[in-house]
């Protein structure tokens, strides 16, 4: 699976949504992405890419798009 596929899958699994919906998602757009769901997403991403995000980055992870920027810091390219 490519990185973008893995990344999208993490969103789909964390929030139980399809790929189309995942790609334009922002924090608190849907009830599932609240602060509880947020930690679920973090867990999915960390497992998928075998990384550990810094607290700062967890706070900044505010959209599907922003998440890709953040993961770039962990040497994950899309």
């Amino acid at each position: 699976m490519s990185n973008i596929e893995k990344y999208t899958q993490a969103f789909c699994q964390a929030f139980d949504i399809d790929e189309e919906a995942a790609k334009k998602l922002k924090f608190q757009d849907i009830p599932a992405w609240d602060s509880v769901g947020h930690m679920g997403l973090v867990a999915q991403l960390e497992e998928a890419f075998d990384i550990m995000l810094e607290p700062d980055d967890i706070v900044d992870l505010s959209s599907f798009e922003k998440g890709q920027e953040i993961l770039a810091k962990y040497d994950i390219t899309f």
Binding site: F27, Q28, P31, D34, S35, V36, M39, V42, E46, M52, L53, E54, P55, D56, I58, V59, S62
Partner: protein, 358 residues
């Protein structure tokens, strides 16, 4: 300086004159913003005869009693912008505060808490043992202050594990396994003061069980009201924690649902500290004038965070005294203070007091 500038500097770095300048400016702007956008708040300020021309320091800015958040729905953004409504510490039969948050306010709260807590524990995320029940996050429509506190703290940890089951019984096996799995690294723990006392310390003592954690840091919040009734003070609390859990560094912190994020942490010398994001003013109950250092009075809390509701300057129902400013032996700048607890005749209310044993 703006809030974003504050995020760029260490959280306990501003000295008295710098801080007064920055805080007065930010809080003044917030007062204007809420005045314009929250009609009820504007009414209160008009009734108080507030005149912006007479503001020279943050102590000159108008404060509102924390109780107003129970009586009125105070918000400075439109209903569509509100993403979270936080309810605080309501036991049945008592009025609850309602705090209306938009996405920006939530984000700034988390960011601030992160700056403050990581200045104590560093930036790396430690294995986290939550001294509470997982049930707290089951009902997500009910965003209680207690649940919000736990979820908010989760970003500092990894492998988040809840120590209590749904009946508030400590799961000995689960806790032992967690400690064993992480025996070679520091462990982070979080919980509410009274819950920790009742369902961890007392429960372990009654069953003659103790753990031997080698290196842990515990943050706890929620107030001492119920523990005071049992004559348990900070020193006794810490001693008994260490006796049943092991080598645990204990940090108590203080904060209100009305000002989530900009919390006050007790340092190694037992002093509660204001960070760059917050301040404390002690007021004399008889005329609300500013008390001197060491003088007991009502605690007024100032926070640069509340943007979606007018909670930036509130008068609490707690009593405290300023101990000093910029000169605590721990090295942190800003005011440090002591909390005596709720004033008499105020309602019983504190996050960890909301759990009623059935």
């Amino acid at each position: 300086m703006t809030l974003n500038d504050l995020f760029q500097i260490a959280p306990y770095s501003l000295t008295k004159s710098e801080k007064n300048k920055v805080l007065t400016q930010i809080l003044k702007e917030l007062t204007v913003k809420h005045y314009k956008n929250c009609p009820e708040y504007a009414k209160i300020l008009k009734a108080l005869g507030y005149n912006p021309q007479e503001v020279f320091s943050s102590a000159d800015l108008p404060f509102i009693p924390v109780r107003l958040f129970k009586q009125f729905e105070l918000k400075s953004v439109s209903d569509e912008q509100i993403t979270k409504t936080l309810t605080s510490s309501g036991t049945s039969g008592q009025a609850v505060s309602k705090i209306f948050l938009d996405a920006e306010n939530v984000r700034n709260q988390t960011k601030t808490l992160n700056e403050i807590i990581s200045s104590f524990i560093g930036k790396s995320r430690l294995p986290l043992l939550l001294l509470d029940t997982e049930m707290i996050k089951k009902d997500r429509t009910m965003y209680s202050a207690r649940g919000a506190g736990i979820i908010g703290f989760s970003i500092f940890g990894r492998n988040s594990t809840y120590a209590l089951d749904e009946n508030m019984n400590i799961n000995i096996q689960k806790v032992s396994d967690f400690i064993k799995e992480h025996e070679n690294e520091p462990i982070l723990m979080f919980g509410y003061t009274y819950m920790i006392w009742q369902f961890v310390v007392r429960a372990l003592e009654e069953n003659n069980i103790s753990f031997n954690i080698k290196n842990a840091i515990l943050f706890h919040i929620g107030g001492w009201k119920k523990l005071k009734d049992q004559a348990v003070d900070v020193l006794e609390f810490n001693r008994r924690i260490q006796k049943c859990l092991g080598n645990v560094k204990v940090y108590n912190y203080y904060g209100m649902a009305e000002q989530l994020g900009s919390v006050f942490v007790e340092c190694e010398h037992g002093h509660m500290h204001c960070s760059n994001y917050s301040d404390v003013i002690i007021r004399r109950a008889k005329d609300f004038s500013e008390a001197n250092i060491g003088e007991k009075g009502l605690i007024e809390l100032l926070s640069v965070l509340p943007t979606s509701y007018p909670g930036h300057i509130i008068l609490t129902e707690d009593e405290g005294a300023i101990l000093g400013e910029d000169d605590c032996p721990c090295g942190r700048k800003g005011k440090y203070f002591k909390i005596y607890g709720r004033i008499k005749n105020a309602e019983l209310r504190g996050c960890s007091d909301t759990y009623e044993k059935r």
